[in-house]
């Protein structure tokens, strides 16, 4: 201990500012890319492109990334988010279809309720296995990723595309995606997915930064055993982070279904990595202990803008995978270096 303590009087907040620097650099990169994009393609900085292409398309994965941030700050990990989202999407469509004869006022709330319930339930399965039984989160969520995906396939009878048969109901539900809330007159509208994202964001920030639960989440990531010995019910808090993550998957499922109207059991595969990438790029380290939702938001936007640029340059999917992988790798490496510097 003395090794570190000798330096203590000296390096009071040096480590923290380094991390702040890191987050700032992500922001700078994001702004630079945006400027670059708007110079290259004049359409980039139009309201439609920003709102429709960037933010609205980022909203669903962004919501999951918010939930994932809780899990990762607490020192956990969830690979099953894409599968949970798939199950939730299927459940949403199937229940809407099942209850369509009762009219939209019954069908839609019932379906929403069940979807969120399923999201919470699947998250709870992850959480209980990890927190109460003590299995490694990587192993648990890797297996539940397969299991949940299988369930989605079974529910759709082997992976056929499903959609709500009732055309009127289908249209009514796509309102979630199609409708715009006029912000500054009709020309500047904000889509419902963005509103949903912002709502989840605000609730998330409140939970993480201004409640006991949020403080415990940070404490869990900092030192689980110490938190437990300080009287924190660590198992419960840990389970709750996965439940929270599961419920954000359910919310994302609602956005996805509204967007596409149809659902396929095999949709969203591989998206769990994009989500985890946005959280890590935002600055939440693997192993947890620090991080913020604002940082995750910048991470989500950075990946989205890069994706948007790659589309505009007609870069093929194979190269995109390499690029996305490299970005994650760089983010993780920088994160590890920052942590080492911080703790040394």
């Amino acid at each position: 201990m003395t090794g570190a303590s000798e330096k203590s009087t000296v390096r009071t907040r040096g480590g923290l500012s380094f991390q702040k620097l890191l987050q700032a650099s992500v922001l700078v990169l994001l702004v630079t890319l945006c400027i670059f994009a708007s110079v290259r393609t004049p359409t980039f900085f139009t309201w439609t492109n920003l709102v429709d292409n960037l933010f609205t398309n980022a909203a669903a994965l962004g919501v999951i990334a918010l939930g994932m941030t809780f899990v990762m700050i607490a020192g956990g990990f969830d690979l099953s988010v894409a599968s949970i989202t798939a199950v939730c999407s299927v459940v949403l469509v199937l229940t809407m279809d099942r209850f369509s004869s009762y009219g939209p006022m019954v069908a839609i709330p019932t379906a929403l309720f069940l979807t969120v319930l399923v999201g919470i339930g699947l998250g709870a399965i992850n959480g209980i296995l990890i927190a109460h039984i003590g299995v490694n989160p990587f192993v648990v969520t890797l297996t539940t990723m397969l299991i949940f995906r299988g369930i989605a396939l079974i529910l759709t009878g082997g992976g056929q595309a499903k959609q709500v048969a009732d055309l009127a109901l289908r249209h009514q539900f796509s309102w979630v995606y199609d409708a715009g809330i006029p912000l500054f007159g009709q020309a500047y509208q904000v889509s419902i997915p963005i509103v949903i994202f912002l709502a989840v964001f605000v609730v998330g920030v409140y939970l993480l930064n201004f409640t006991r639960f949020g403080h415990y989440v940070f404490a869990l990531g900092g030192n689980e055993e110490a938190a437990w010995l300080a009287g924190v019910n660590t198992k419960q808090i840990k389970t709750l982070t996965y439940v929270l993550c599961g419920s954000t998957c359910a919310i994302a499922a609602v956005i996805f279904v509204a967007m596409t109207a149809t659902v396929q059991a095999e949709s969203h595969q591989g998206k769990e990595l994009v989500v985890i990438a946005s959280v890590i790029i935002g600055g939440t380290p693997l192993g947890g202990g620090s991080g913020s939702l604002v940082a995750t938001l910048t991470g989500v936007m950075l990946l989205r803008v890069i994706d948007n640029l790659l589309t505009q340059f007609n870069v093929g999917t194979e190269y995109r995978k390499v690029v996305t992988g490299l970005i994650i790798l760089v983010a993780v490496v920088i994160g590890v270096l920052a942590k080492r510097r911080n703790l040394r």
């Binding site: 303590s5 000798e6 403080h215 404490a219 010995l229």
Partner: protein
């Protein structure tokens, strides 16, 4: 070492320190936390390549720029936090980095490793089984493994950074014998410790550092403990231990038949309000395990009655709500919530009480509460936003104690509260323990430093091999009596 200067991001940690060790000498290096002892030794270990000043080793002027170079010229440091690899055997740990590979089969030569390790162990006269996995050894034995590993690399200068901090009295005596043997073999030895009382029996000379400067070097015989602490603190510390002013009252905690398989058996005692109950025993006797079971950190059989009512389910969460707290043994692993600021570390146990509407935690209120505790515990730097790992060991400990103080527990368990902290903080914690007892709170104090128990406790329970063997009335003047009680019949194991 001459005029060593080392800066950390603008602040001077070492300011022109001269230090000298002779062959066949044990040189004690003391000072409060943050005085620069470890930094000085880290310069020697090649941890920094940006120090100023000169180092002359074995007659040659050198610059030590890397840990590897330090090792190659024969400097080794045994850190308080041991660096043995738990999953390997004793022999493999000792021989790490010097394994021999069989010529043709490229097979690891296990027989060679074992044989070499055995010869080193025999040379040093240690009682170690080379085949045993290190994780099954006691802390003291692990320390021996580390020493053996260093000796194997042909060291000329061996630095001990607080080796005795985690050891029981008996192991300390063994270690001292080892150090004396090494000295007789002509090694230069630097010995860093916070336990001033043990220095006369092992060291030849002593150097005192304060605030990155050298206060002085004296022969050990000419430097009694009072003189050393005066040099360390810069003023006379006449009373390290406060007067005992607490008065035990009525029973608050009743423990009956507490047992945990292979750890301890049938422990029964009563704890009274305003009482300081000491628990003494050798390392591994089961002291910590008993404390953990009381706090619900480990499951155990038996009954615990708190304020006349039996506690049905014990867990740290339940205990903290009911008013039982524990300052754990291992500060870094079990105490500090790493990478989080001091304020959060202080408030973690009382967030329930600070919650507002919808579980709202007002940042202003949290900060005010943290500032209050920082003031009461005199934590330095007095800023709740500093990350806890950037505090000195003593200040980290103050945060952990402050965390429980804020929770206002009726029973507070201290497990090795003064391990590895400076004498000023120690004294502060002693005063606090007596003050808490005076307020009517019950204290359980576990310590390897028997003098603490002798001076602070009202009664001392002696634990041997997981059994409560006797009880002594305290305060005591004769610490040896306590030591004998702990160690008796140990050889029959």
């Amino acid at each position: 070492m001459r005029r060593i200067v080392k800066d950390f991001s603008g602040t001077r940690a070492l300011d022109g320190v001269d230090f000298e060790v002779r062959k066949g000498e044990v040189h004690a290096l003391i000072g409060e936390n943050g005085a620069g002892k470890s930094t000085l030794m880290n310069v020697l270990a090649g941890r920094f390549d940006d120090y100023q000043g000169q180092i002359v080793f074995d007659g040659n002027q050198i610059r030590i720029a890397s840990p590897r170079q330090a090792r190659d010229i024969g400097i080794a440091i045994i850190y308080q936090e041991l660096t043995v690899l738990n999953n390997l055997s004793v022999a493999e740990n000792i021989m790490l980095g010097d394994e021999k590979i069989r010529r043709w089969t490229r097979k690891l030569d296990r027989a060679f490793i074992k044989q070499e390790a055995r010869s080193i162990i025999d040379y040093l006269g240690f009682d170690l089984n080379p085949d045993k996995p290190v994780e099954r050894l006691s802390t003291a034995q692990q320390c021996l493994v580390e020493i053996a590993g260093a000796i194997r690399r042909n060291v000329k200068l061996l630095v001990f950074d607080e080796p005795t901090a985690p050891l029981g009295s008996e192991d300390v005596q063994k270690l001292f014998q080892v150090i004396r043997d090494l000295k007789a073999k002509g090694l230069g030895i630097v010995y860093i410790s916070h336990r001033l009382a043990e220095l006369p029996s092992v060291a030849d000379r002593v150097t005192v550092l304060r605030d990155g400067r050298k206060v002085g070097t004296k022969p050990m015989d000419a430097c009694p403990i009072s003189e050393m602490s005066r040099m360390m603190l810069g003023h006379v510390l006449s009373e390290i231990f406060p007067p005992k002013e607490n008065q035990p009252g009525k029973c608050i905690l009743k423990v009956k038949g507490l047992s945990r398989k292979a750890k301890f058996e049938d422990i029964s005692f009563e704890l009274r309000e305003g009482e300081v109950l000491g628990i003494a025993g050798l390392l591994g006797a089961g002291r910590t395990e008993i404390a953990r079971a009381l706090f619900g950190a480990d499951k155990a059989a038996g009954t615990v009655e708190f304020q006349g009512k039996p506690m049905s389910s014990l867990s740290p969460g339940v205990c903290s709500i009911r008013g039982i707290g524990m300052v754990p043994e291992d500060r870094k692993r079990q105490g500090t919530i790493t990478a989080r600021p001091v304020g959060e570390n202080l408030n973690i146990s009382i967030l329930g009480r600070l919650s507002g509407f919808l579980g709202f935690q007002s940042p202003r209120r949290l900060n005010r509460q943290a500032d209050l505790m920082i003031g009461r515990m005199r934590i330095d730097p007095p800023d709740p936003r500093v990350l806890i790992q950037n505090l000195s060991g003593g200040n980290q400990q103050k945060v952990i104690v402050g965390r429980w103080l804020a929770a206002q527990p009726k029973v507070l368990i201290f497990d090795e509260p003064t391990r590895g902290i400076d004498i000023g903080t120690k004294s502060q914690i002693y005063k606090l323990i007596i003050k808490l007892a005076k307020e009517g709170r019950a204290i359980i104090l576990i310590s390897s430093e028997l003098i603490e128990l002798a001076k602070l406790a009202d009664r001392i329970l002696i634990i041997r091999n997981g059994r409560l063997v006797s009880e002594m009335q305290a305060p005591l003047d004769d610490v040896d009596l306590l030591f004998d009680a702990c160690a008796a019949k140990e050889e029959s194991v």
